[in-house]
């Protein structure tokens, strides 16, 4: 397989195309526009559809239409745009329509800023729109993962009939790394439910209105059972030196990548540090965290926000080990900054 130098956003877009994505519906917003621009160049050359929608609302509803027609489809946006898409994501969730939504995150609230941010963690992992639902959320930390997780996202979306969100920071989108380009996907999940014309079958209806309260409850139980299955099957995390760690750093995406360096640095300074990097933010890899909590004395959640994932870490640990937080907003902490934090905690606790 070819080893090529690729930019994160391109790897993501190429991953989507390799996975069979044939519909992209976008709306410009920094720092996600490069994905739409790439798709605008590429889609017409491979028999796909690219539409620049009039709004994020229209874009996510084009995703709804394209998915319902049975195609692998995608949209990409950032903070304010992802907020606008939430109504549609709620509809897609109840319609059980597979799709991939990319959030190249930016800082908020409001228009916020365009620097790397993980401030949309709550929005992404708690559903985001109205109603009881979840989307699968993946957080790549390098260019290879941008391609691989995008392909995985399309598979999970189809297999579980669920919207999958890829959440990343703008920095990753612009990062260039050598990667192995994967083979195109050739086997696809059947979609007998697609609304693509009722030739030789009974009509299909894609509907999310359930006025009968018993049926509505049944639908919710159905969704919850699916989420339970996903929790059992889809949790992913990378671990690094956690076996003997006194202090376990938990960080995802860009931050996970940076924190790995900090852990190595802290080890050089005599602190037994380790790292858990959640790759799926929902389902959250609480099993790995729970098991690390049996030996670790302390956890440190490092996020590019004011402290959001720390809640999931605490829920996983159930109060057995103290969890501390270090975060910045509008800027990603550098490796030295985090290793200093680790060493300070170790010194404070008398481990060194």
């Amino acid at each position: 397989m070819d080893r090529v130098l690729m930019k994160g956003n391109e790897a993501l877009a190429e991953g989507a195309i390799l996975a069979g994505c044939r519909g992209f519906f976008g709306y410009p917003i920094t720092p996600s526009s490069e994905i739409a621009e790439y798709m605008a160049r590429k889609m017409p050359t491979i028999g796909g559809v690219f539409v620049q929608a009039e709004s994020e609302l229209a874009a996510i509803n084009m995703v709804y239409g394209g998915s319902s027609a049975g195609f692998r489809v995608m949209t990409a946006s950032s903070g304010p745009g992802i907020s606008l898409k939430q109504e549609g994501i709620s509809f897609l969730s109840e319609g059980e329509l597979p799709c991939v939504v990319v959030n190249v995150s930016r800082g908020g609230p409001g228009l916020g800023g365009i620097q790397p941010s993980q401030a949309d963690y709550f929005q992404a992992t708690r559903g985001g729109g109205h109603g009881d639902y979840h989307t699968i959320v993946v957080a790549p930390s390098g260019v290879q993962e941008m391609m691989d997780l995008t392909m995985q996202a399309f598979y999970w979306a189809d297999y579980h009939r669920i919207p999958v969100m890829i959440m990343l920071e703008g920095t990753l989108g612009n990062l260039m790394e050598p990667i192995t380009v994967r083979e195109p996907v050739t086997e696809f999940v059947d979609k007998p439910w697609a609304t693509n014309g009722c030739k030789d079958r009974a009509p299909n209806v894609m509907n999310t209105l359930h006025l009968d309260s018993d049926f509505l409850e049944k639908r919710n139980h159905h969704l919850q059972a699916k989420y339970e299955k996903i929790q059992q099957e889809c949790k992913r995390a990378e671990t690094f030196m956690i076996e003997d760690a006194d202090i376990v750093i938990v960080a995802f995406g860009l931050m996970g990548r940076i924190a790995k360096k900090s852990v190595s640095e802290a080890r050089k300074q005599g602190v037994k540090a380790g790292l858990i990097r959640p790759i799926t933010l929902w389902p959250f890899p609480d099993d790995v965290i729970k098991s690390a909590a049996q030996t670790a004395k302390r956890f440190l959640s490092v996020e590019i926000n004011m402290g959001q994932m720390i809640e999931d870490i605490k829920l996983a640990i159930e109060g057995r080990v103290p969890v501390e937080f270090y975060g910045r907003i509008g800027i990603s902490p550098n490796p030295e900054e985090i290793s200093r934090q680790i060493i300070n905690i170790a010194a404070r606790e008398g481990w060194i």
Binding site: L57, G65, S68, A69, E87, G197
Partner: protein, 245 residues
């Protein structure tokens, strides 16, 4: 015995839930008859709105989607682009199309999406209980303009057919009514023409159909038909506003 009248294949065998004197049922049937006559039922995907006709998927006998409020043209855009040989129509009321969905309908027509929109104008929000719509007539009372719509307070009625006819991507734009047998037949002709425009790939097509809402107008069905003629026709003139051959 010779069959002279029967339910179109494109309609399910369900009873309409619509109020007495409401014209949604007539319009559903006209669409169904046209799809049958063109033999395109199995190639058609209909997109239903939020509003009184939210349950249209219970009546149409072909693939349908239920859209979020106002978003049907965006959904239709994607389906038609991905499946260009299918027939895609949206069925939208005036709150859905002319208020919350104004952006989607204007841009679908600007892009010349090869879909057809059936726009049901009854001058108010029916399902939610008779609130003012962009199409509410000046002077007309609705629950959210209880003193009658005043231009200085609530602005002016939206003329959607005239507005969309100005867009280059629109190939066929027509306004009809279903107040009389003659107008019902004209509406059917317009529906078929709009679908033929789609078939020929000429661009966006819309039939605005003046409809009644006896319940929220506070009139009986016969009075409602007369109210449509007396009050709506002067503001919303019937006819073709755009017809690209």
């Amino acid at each position: 015995m010779k069959t002279v009248f029967q339910k179109p294949k494109s309609l399910q065998d369900n009873k309409f839930h619509y109020c007495p004197g409401c014209t949604h049922g007539i319009i559903h049937r006209l669409i169904a008859e046209c799809l049958d006559e063109m033999d395109i039922r199995e190639k058609t995907i209909g997109i239903c709105p939020v509003g009184c006709s939210v349950l249209a998927y219970d009546y149409f006998n072909f693939d349908t989607l239920e859209a979020a409020h106002g978003r049907a043209p965006a959904i239709g855009t994607a389906i038609k682009r991905l499946l260009p040989d299918r027939f895609v129509f949206t069925y939208q009321g005036d709150g859905d199309l002319a208020s919350i969905g104004m952006g989607e309908i204007v841009h679908a027509s600007l892009r010349g999406e090869k879909i057809t929109t059936f726009f049901i104008n009854n001058t108010l929000y029916g399902m939610t209980g008779g609130q003012m719509a962009p199409t509410t007539l000046l002077g007309q009372v609705a629950t959210t303009c209880p003193y009658g719509r005043k231009a200085e307070w609530e602005g002016y009625p939206a003329h959607m057919a005239e507005l969309l006819a100005g867009n280059e991507g629109a190939a066929y734009i027509c306004r009809t009514a279903v107040n009389s047998p003659a107008n019902v037949m004209k509406t059917k002709k317009a529906i078929k023409k709009a679908l033929e425009v789609q078939q020929r790939g000429l661009g966006f097509s819309m039939v605005e159909i003046l409809s009644t809402c006896p319940t929220n107008w506070g009139l009986n069905p016969v009075e409602a038909m007369k109210w449509m003629e007396d009050k709506m026709f002067p503001t919303y003139p019937l006819g073709e506003f755009k017809c690209v051959e």
